[in-house]
Structure formats: structure tokens, C-alpha cells
């Protein structure tokens, strides 16, 4: 019996992009359902009653929530389909989980502060953001990807934020490449993968939607 895979998502969500990339890497066909976060569908509220947010993967009717949990799930269910996103070795897996968790704890909130705030708060956020990216650069080292030679879990966790860099840089008036050239080189390497280039939205469209959001919520 064929798998029925549905993804509830929003086009500009970094968390949704992670799932899109993982599904694409495994070559899994799925139905994409765009959610309006200001008018959430009954399906979303039913499938994720705890957090009421996207992404939600619905596999043969069963919901899985939280983007990194979903990516791990995809990797485990379709473990026979290359590539394996999480490494085979338990220690390497623990390292991958650690850095993905670090990304979740740090990158989103600080990035969001950059484009939604002004003045001192924004300056502090920019400084924090660069420090966070520098730590990630250290973790990357001289490898092509965070996992080493192969694109994997941590790369999936981080690369979606690249589609938001233009937004952060424009509102924050700074250039990430100047401070973190290695990381930008890594991002450009990832973008060459079809799973990534097809999952990430146009960075200028992201910026335009951020502009609209700021107007609606009186943040400018």
C-alpha cells in the first residue's frame, strides 16, 4: 500500500523547510498544504493541538510534530533510502543532535530580534547572532558539511535560515559574509543540492513578507 504523506507548512517557515528538504532528500512524494498562520485550519488544530503550529507531518493519518523530531522520523522510516541524514555512529549522532538543538535554542530567536527590533536591542541581537554563527563555523571546521563529507542532519537544521539572511542583513544593515565567510561558503554549497534549492523560498520574497508583517503588527 502506498504511503500517504501530507505536510502542513507555511512557505517562509525555516522549520517547515527542514521537513521539505528531508522528504526531498529521500525522494518521498507528499501533499503540501499551505497554512495561513493568522487563520489556522481545523486540520492543523486537530493534528497539533498542543502547539497549534507548523510543520506537521501526517503519515498514513498519524501526525508528527516539531521539525527536528519529524526529520528524525523521516530518517528512521525511510532508512533504506539514501542518504542517511543522521550518522550511523552513536557519538556522531549525539554530536549532530547537540548542534541541531543548539541551532534551535539560539538562531531563531536572535534572528527574529534583528528584523523586528531597533536601536540598542537590534545591535545586541546582531552581535549575538554573529557569535552564534561563529560557534557554528567552528563546529563545521574544514568539512564540506557539518556531518563531514556528506550533507546531513545539522545541515538540514541550519540551511533554511539562509533564506532569511537577506532579511536579517537588510533590516540590520550588516553583511554576514564579512564576519562568517566559511558559513556562507557552506550555505552556497548546500544550495547547489536540488532538495535545498527547491525547498527554500526566494530571499527577496521573504524580505517583502517581513516588511508586510512589520506594517501589520506596527513594528516599523
Amino acid at each position: 500500500m502506498a504511503d500517504e504523506v501530507v505536510l502542513l507548512d507555511t512557505w517562509f517557515s525555516m522549520f517547515g523547510m527542514r521537513v521539505r528538504i528531508a522528504l526531498a532528500e529521500k525522494g518521498i512524494k507528499y501533499e503540501y498544504k499551505e497554512e495561513d498562520l493568522l487563520n489556522k485550519s481545523p486540520l492543523l488544530l486537530q493534528m497539533n493541538p498542543i502547539y497549534k503550529c507548523i510543520p506537521v507531518l501526517i503519515h498514513n493519518g498519524k501526525p508528527i510534530c516539531e521539525s527536528l523530531i519529524i526529520v528524525k522520523y523521516i530518517d528512521e522510516v525511510w532508512k533504506d533510502k539514501a542518504p542517511l541524514l543522521l550518522p550511523f555512529d552513536p557519538y556522531q549522532r549525539a554530536q549532530a543532535r547537540f548542534w541541531a538543538d543548539f541551532i534551535d535554542q539560539k538562531v531563531y530567536d536572535v534572528g527574529r530580534t534583528i528584523w523586528t527590533s531597533k536601536g540598542d536591542e537590534q545591535e545586541a541581537a546582531k552581535k549575538d547572532f554573529i557569535e552564534i554563527l561563529k560557534k557554528l563555523e567552528e563546529a563545521l571546521g574544514n568539512n564540506a558539511y557539518f556531518g563531514g563529507d556528506a550533507f546531513g542532519f545539522v545541515d538540514v537544521a541550519l540551511i533554511p535560515f539562509y533564506s532569511w539572511f537577506y532579511t536579517y542583513e537588510t533590516f540590520g544593515n550588516f553583511k554576514i559574509e564579512r564576519e562568517c565567510p566559511k558559513l556562507i561558503a557552506w550555505a552556497k554549497r548546500c544550495i547547489k543540492r536540488e532538495s535545498v534549492s527547491k525547498s527554500l523560498p526566494d530571499e527577496k520574497k521573504v524580505y517583502e513578507s517581513a516588511l508586510v508583517y512589520k506594517k501589520i503588527f506596527g513594528l516599523d
Partner: protein
């Protein structure tokens, strides 16, 4: 060659207790190094430079930080004994989701219920109880949160029990009245040596909390 396992933790850390329980379930011998969190050791700062927190598991020189990551690591390395995560991917996702819920939603409001006063305390208490209710519902008629067998989700949650008396006392409510199933589950977990040998005396935790409250200027 014998494994060398070291755990940097603090006797009262529920996150450290998770790792202790997991190691005990697997029958792994290890060295426990008590950390003074107000005066962190060079070893802690060196092994966890990113977060500078306990617990840190050091296995044959390899460093694993973050309690739930350490528990999964232990489960994978010593996979031949007492499996903690289910084998089914959907059940694994379920266990990970609810373990994450404890850390993301329940822990901070619980902590703020005993470390704050007034409106902030009231709001935290309300949030904590809402989260606790949602989580407790997941037990249903199962003997354990993980299912028929003690596992990952139970390991993730049971250490917080030793702090709940503190939260109840300073939050002025009683969990047992509303959540008898939860207390049955606690009793069931405490019958396991790995849990009863790990969880500290609730009176000691309470004494520590009173000391901390004085230091925060709350009492």
C-alpha cells in the same frame, strides 16, 4: 578494554538524574563528579564550553552534553540491555515530542512557581498546572508514559518528581488530589532500583529550595 564513563552533574539536577537512571538501567559503572554550579570546575567549562551546564557525560574521553541527547546515546551504545526508546519510529517520535514538551513548556513555569512571588508566581503556577495536566493525560491506562515498559519518557519525567513537592509547597496546591494516576506511576517507578537509588530525599531538595529562596530574597 573496559569502558570509562564519567558523569559531571549536581545531586539535585533533574537533568543529571535522567542520565544516572539511564546508566543504572543499563548496569553501567561510572564515576560521578559533583559540580558546584556556583564555582564551575575547569573540566565542566572545558567539556561544555557552549552551555557550561550539567550534566556532561564523558565516555572514553568522548563528550556528550544535554540530558536527553545523553540518554539516547546511552540507549544506542548499550543497546543490548533494557531498551529505553521504543523500536517503532512513530512511538519514538511520540516519546521525543513529550520529552521535549517537559523541557520546553513545563520546566520553567515549574521553576518560577517556587522562585518568584506575586503575579509572576500566579501566572507561572497556572501555566505549570496546565502543562502538567496535558502531560499527565498521556499516561492514560498505561503503566508507564512509555507504554508497557519503563522507558525514555519515564526517564525524562520521573526526576522532576523530587522537585514537585517544592513547587506544591510554595505554589500552595496539592497534585495528589487531582492526579492520583500520576502518583501511582511515581510509586511504580520508585520500585525500580535505578530510580530509587538516583532520586534524592525530597526533604533535602526542599531544604535546598528554602536556602535558595533566602538567597533570592524571597523569604
Amino acid at each position: 578494554m573496559a569502558d570509562e564513563v564519567v558523569l559531571l552533574s549536581s545531586w539535585f539536577s533533574p537533568f543529571g538524574m535522567r542520565v544516572q537512571i539511564a546508566l543504572a538501567e543499563k548496569g553501567i559503572n561510572y564515576e560521578f563528579k559533583e559540580e558546584d554550579l556556583r564555582n564551575k570546575s575547569p573540566l565542566l567549562l572545558q567539556t561544555n564550553p557552549i552551555h557550561k551546564k550539567v550534566p556532561v557525560l564523558i565516555h572514553n574521553g568522548k563528550i556528550i552534553c544535554e540530558s536527553l541527547i545523553a540518554v539516547e546515546y546511552i540507549d544506542e551504545v548499550w543497546s543490548d540491555k533494557s531498551p529505553l526508546l521504543p523500536s517503532d519510529p512513530y512511538q519514538r517520535a511520540y516519546a521525543r515530542f513529550w520529552a521535549d514538551f517537559i523541557d520546553a513548556k513545563m520546566y520553567q513555569p515549574g521553576r518560577k512557581t517556587w522562585t518568584t512571588k506575586g503575579d509572576e508566581q500566579e501566572a507561572s503556577k497556572k501555566e505549570f498546572l496546565e502543562c502538567f495536566k496535558l502531560f499527565e493525560k498521556q499516561l492514560g491506562d498505561k503503566p508507564y508514559f512509555n507504554g508497557d515498559n519503563f522507558g525514555f519518557l519515564d526517564v525524562a519525567f520521573i526526576p522532576l518528581h523530587c522537585w514537585f513537592q517544592v513547587i506544591e509547597t510554595f505554589g500552595e496546591f496539592k497534585l495528589e488530589e487531582e492526579f492520583p494516576k500520576y502518583f501511582d506511576w511515581v510509586k511504580r517507578c520508585l520500585q525500580r532500583e535505578s530510580v530509587s537509588n538516583t532520586l534524592p530525599d525530597q526533604k533535602k531538595i526542599y531544604a535546598l529550595a528554602c536556602l535558595r529562596r533566602k538567597q533570592f530574597g524571597l523569604d
